[in-house]
């Protein structure tokens, strides 16, 4: 039982990290980045290449891949978002889908079709607790996710850059009036979101194997999690992610593992139909 | 003369703010009734409650002795209550004619089969509705602009087109939300002539307007609203000399003395 809960929470934390990446961008520029799943894959591949081919120590590989993804985030924003910022959101959404198609196939060409395994910092070691063996990597994921959440809270609340990014997210016009360089803040938002994706990718690799398709429905699931939690709200994304991770594992164990993915989306549609604000979202409505 | 529209002690509370405070008023069949008051008095909120956008926190709305408060806007519009908007809401990408045709949507029964196969029945019904719309356009002086895009019309023309669309619903009661806003003098004069014409056709009008010349010239009865409460009601000359009304508009006179 505890085993299921732990791996459920671990999976949930990954969904939460990716969902956070999606929500951060959505709040700032009202666009859903359907390529977020592929960003995670990119982070995993970069880390795998650094450790396996260049034999860097694990932690160095993690740090470098997060920085590289930050750079990638900037380029992605310049190429896919910037020329489209004035366009309706559907054009931008389809553009991100185009980017995800490109990333999936480009990764397969560069890194080959063979899934790669690279051990996490704790390698294979298991933790035996009262007859229950828990994968050390799961614990690492949960701990790192909590740390990131706390960091994000302080970053946005306390640091000036964080506050400026939040201001841009709330109201771009007002932010420009305050002298905030909005386009720079948007760039930072994309960079931050890609770094979150890199973190998720790096943590996920030992469980998921690094392959071109690892990101595929991860992005969709994370987006669903952010809606279940209450789209636009940061706690909503985190709690939605955890909720989805645990729901899936228990649904797979006790109902049927075949329909595991379907449960995520059934819950999503129910939430959208009856509680569009999500479990934790606040009431937002447009005046007539 | 029995009332066509009765607003019975309605209140609209937006999280602590009583935008409308137990307002009661009624509009008689065939009259031109104006609802005036300084900005923020709650005029448009009242209009939105009557036309079904908001469900009033308290009170009832009776139209043609049927309870309509809380039902959705399309049912209310089909019951014969059409409206225009403060900031014109036209179907910009559709042609002028199409805009008016949409007004007539509920009255024209083309039927699924007719629509898909353009049966002779469909063509007859369609032709009739086009003629009616053209007549309306002629009435408001937009006949020659029928096939142009609504987006390309001037502001005054758009205002008048919106009235034409409302008229296409063959309404019993027409709600006009600041129709004269942004019109020049000739356009305002045309508007007065048009509203007179509508009254002649037996259409009751509830008018929200700031242009006092228009209100005093057109209205049979006026209700004055201030901070969501009714402070006066009666015919134009009574309202003109009503102390409270002047204070509401010009602020305390004694303050200057």
């Amino acid at each position: 039982m505890i085993q299921l809960l732990i791996s459920g929470l671990a999976m949930g934390s990954i969904y939460a990290l990716v969902a956070l990446g999606i929500v951060v961008i959505a709040n700032a520029v009202n666009v859903v980045n359907f390529a977020q799943g592929e960003n995670v894959m990119l982070g995993a591949y970069v880390a795998a290449t650094l450790t396996l081919t260049l034999h860097l120590p694990i932690l160095a590989a993690y740090a470098i891949s997060i920085i590289l993804l930050a750079l990638y985030g900037y380029i992605f924003q310049k190429v896919a978002y910037y020329p489209l910022r004035k366009k309706p959101f559907i054009t931008v959404v389809v553009a991100t889908i185009g980017v995800s198609m490109f990333l999936k196939n480009a990764a397969r060409i560069v890194w080959g079709p063979q899934p790669i395994y690279f051990a996490g910092p704790f390698g294979e070691s298991m933790i035996r607790v009262g007859g229950v063996s828990i994968n050390a990597q799961n614990i690492l994921i949960i701990v790192v996710t909590l740390a990131l959440v706390v960091f994000q809270h302080f970053f946005f609340a306390k640091t000036s850059l964080g506050r400026q990014m939040q201001a841009t997210a709330q109201d771009q016009e007002a932010a420009t009036l305050m002298g905030i360089k909005v386009s720079r803040m948007i760039a930072f938002t994309f960079i931050y979101s890609s770094m979150l994706a890199a973190a998720a990718g790096v943590l996920l690799a030992p469980i998921f194997y690094v392959s071109a398709d690892m990101g595929a429905n991860l992005g969709l699931k994370a987006f669903a999690a952010s809606i279940i939690g209450g789209f636009g709200s940061v706690p909503g994304a985190i709690l939605g992610g955890l909720f989805l991770g645990v729901l899936e594992i228990f649904a797979a164990a006790y109902v049927s593992s075949l329909y595991k993915d379907a449960f995520a989306f059934i819950v999503l549609i129910l939430i959208l139909a009856f509680m569009p604000r999500g479990l934790f979202g606040e009431k937002i409505s447009t005046k007539v | 003369m029995e009332p066509l529209l009765t607003v019975d002690a309605i209140s609209m509370i937006f999280g602590g703010l009583r935008a409308v405070d137990s307002l009661s008023m009624n509009v008689m069949l065939g009259e031109i009734h104006s609802l005036i008051g300084p900005n923020g008095a709650g005029k448009t909120t009242v209009l939105n409650v009557i036309s079904g956008f908001y469900k009033p926190t308290e009170g009832k709305v009776l139209f043609d002795n049927k309870l309509i408060q809380g039902s959705n806007s399309s049912t209310i519009s089909r019951a014969g209550l059409a409206r225009t908007f403060q900031n014109v809401r036209l179907f910009k990408e559709l042609t002028v004619l199409e805009n008016v045709q949409i007004g007539m949507y509920a009255l024209v029964k083309e039927g699924i089969i007719g629509t898909v196969f353009h049966t002779p029945y469909f063509r007859k019904v369609n032709k009739a509705s086009v003629e009616e719309c053209m007549a309306l356009l002629e009435m408001v002086g937009l006949k020659d602009k029928a096939s142009l895009r609504a987006r390309n019309m001037s502001y005054g023309q758009q205002k008048v087109l919106e009235i034409a669309r409302a008229l296409a619903q063959k309404p019993k009661l027409l709600l006009l939300d600041e129709p004269a806003a942004g019109l020049n003098d000739t356009e305002t004069f045309e508007l007065i002539k048009l509203v007179r014409q509508l009254q002649g056709k037996g259409i009751t009008v509830l008018l929200i307007e700031h242009n006092m010349r228009l209100v005093m010239n057109l209205s049979d009865r006026i209700t004055v609203l201030n901070f969501g409460k009714k402070i006066a009601e009666g015919n134009p000359d009574v309202i003109q000399n009503n102390e409270e009304v002047i204070q509401a508009y010009l602020g305390k006179r004694r303050a200057y003395a």
Binding site: N105, P115, E124, S133, Y209, A252, S257 | -
Partner: protein
């Protein structure tokens, strides 16, 4: 974006449309060389994109190697072989388009089919209508019913599944069997055969669990099977899920012995599963590197030098397929489809790299090997089963 660039860009798209339509006319006709000297065109539909490229590359390498060898030795009765490859990716429409292109546009004489059984099902109607010899990699037992033009180069699931069940009950002396499988048609086909074979041999299947082809976390399935008291797991799935199964079997401390489908023995799967693979039994095509026959060992060495990676049974069966097509064309003395079909059916006990082939019907390969993975190598031969 000024109007001009927008206009020119969409004009480019429009011309692309016109080119695409007119483009059809050009490459239809083949070279004007007289018929008897013209190269014999053999088609291959294999996964060059999508996650199945892993298998696609093995097939493509094996085929190219055979074609180059034959051409170097003078081709088939003097005519060189021209290999035409089309990408069948991972969906049925892609496979159907690839096969149609091979038959109609590339006018090939025979086709080497893709690995996925679902794709083989999808193209069966086209092959039957076009009447062209079609070598099959898909192992689903029901694939050959009504498809007289299908020639399977690998043992079908029926043989492999029965052997796996037999080995579990008689070899490992286990009574309670757990079956895990992919939810796709390969996995479902395998499971049905295993369950039937176990019941025939007096064992009991205590648990059946299926997973989707992109599932990553099988903890739920493994805990279920363990709680139902299974003593051994027979798994019928694709590489990355089989690897996850072995890895999590060890991680969660369940440590049940696992007997896997042929995919379990592929170098890719072993590399993915890491040391969790050690001890796993594999029932599948004879592993080339394990085949004592020196001819096979020479071939393995030549393949490894050429492609810098060890061959697996896919490359072996593709290599044998080309050689058998060569034998059939030479025997039939022409590239006429029905003649090739008849000639293929006369092949008896042909010692290939991957199997010994006897084509009494569509099923040519009748030899299966049970092996065990030890320190990262699928090289401990347990038993060779000949039917």
């Amino acid at each position: 974006m000024q109007r001009k660039t927008v206009k020119s860009f969409s004009l480019a798209i429009a011309t692309l449309l016109i080119v695409s339509l007119s483009g059809c006319g050009s490459n239809g006709s083949n070279s004007g060389v007289s018929a008897d000297k013209a190269p014999i065109r053999i088609g291959q539909a294999t996964a060059l994109t999508s996650e199945y490229t892993v298998v696609g590359q093995y097939l493509s390498n094996g085929t190219k190697m055979a074609v180059d060898e034959i051409n170097a030795a003078g081709g088939i009765s003097g005519r060189k072989i021209q290999l035409v490859q089309e990408d069948s990716a991972n969906t049925n429409p892609a496979a159907v388009n690839a096969i149609n292109k091979l038959i109609d546009s590339d006018n090939v004489v025979a086709i080497m089919g893709p690995d996925l059984s679902t794709q083989n099902f999808a193209v069966a109607p086209i092959i039957n209508k076009a009447k062209i010899p079609f070598t099959v990699q898909g192992t689903n037992a029901k694939l050959l019913d009504g498809n007289s033009w299908f020639f399977r180069l690998r043992p079908d699931d029926g043989l492999a599944a029965k052997t796996a069940a037999k080995f579990a009950i008689e070899g490992l002396k286990k009574k309670k069997i757990g079956v895990t499988h992919d939810s796709d048609e390969f996995g479902v086909g395998g499971r049905d055969l295993i369950v039937k074979a176990v019941q025939d041999l007096g064992g009991t299947v205590v648990g059946e669990e299926s997973y989707n082809s992109n599932d990553k976390d099988l903890t739920a399935i493994l805990t279920n099977i363990k709680n139902k008291g299974a003593e051994v797991i027979i798994d019928w799935g694709h590489p990355s899920q089989s690897a996850t199964l072995q890895r999590q079997n060890k991680q969660l401390g369940i440590n049940l012995p696992i007997i896997g489908s042929p995919g379990m023995g592929m170098p890719a799967t072993i590399q993915l599963a890491g040391d969790a693979a050690n001890g796993t039994y594999v029932v599948g095509d004879p592993v080339p590197s394990l085949n004592p026959d020196p001819k096979v060992q020479a071939w393995v060495k030549k393949y490894t030098d050429l492609y810098k990676a060890a061959p697996d049974f896919h490359s072996a069966s593709a290599y044998d397929g080309i050689y058998m097509l060569k034998m059939a064309i030479e025997k039939a003395g022409s590239t006429d489809a029905t003649a090739i079909q008849k000639a293929l059916l006369t092949i008896k006990d042909y010692q290939g790299m991957g199997n010994t082939f006897t084509f009494t019907d569509g099923n040519g390969a009748h030899m299966v090997m049970i092996t065990q993975i030890e320190n990262g190598q699928n090289n401990k031969l347990i038993q060779t089963v000949k039917l």
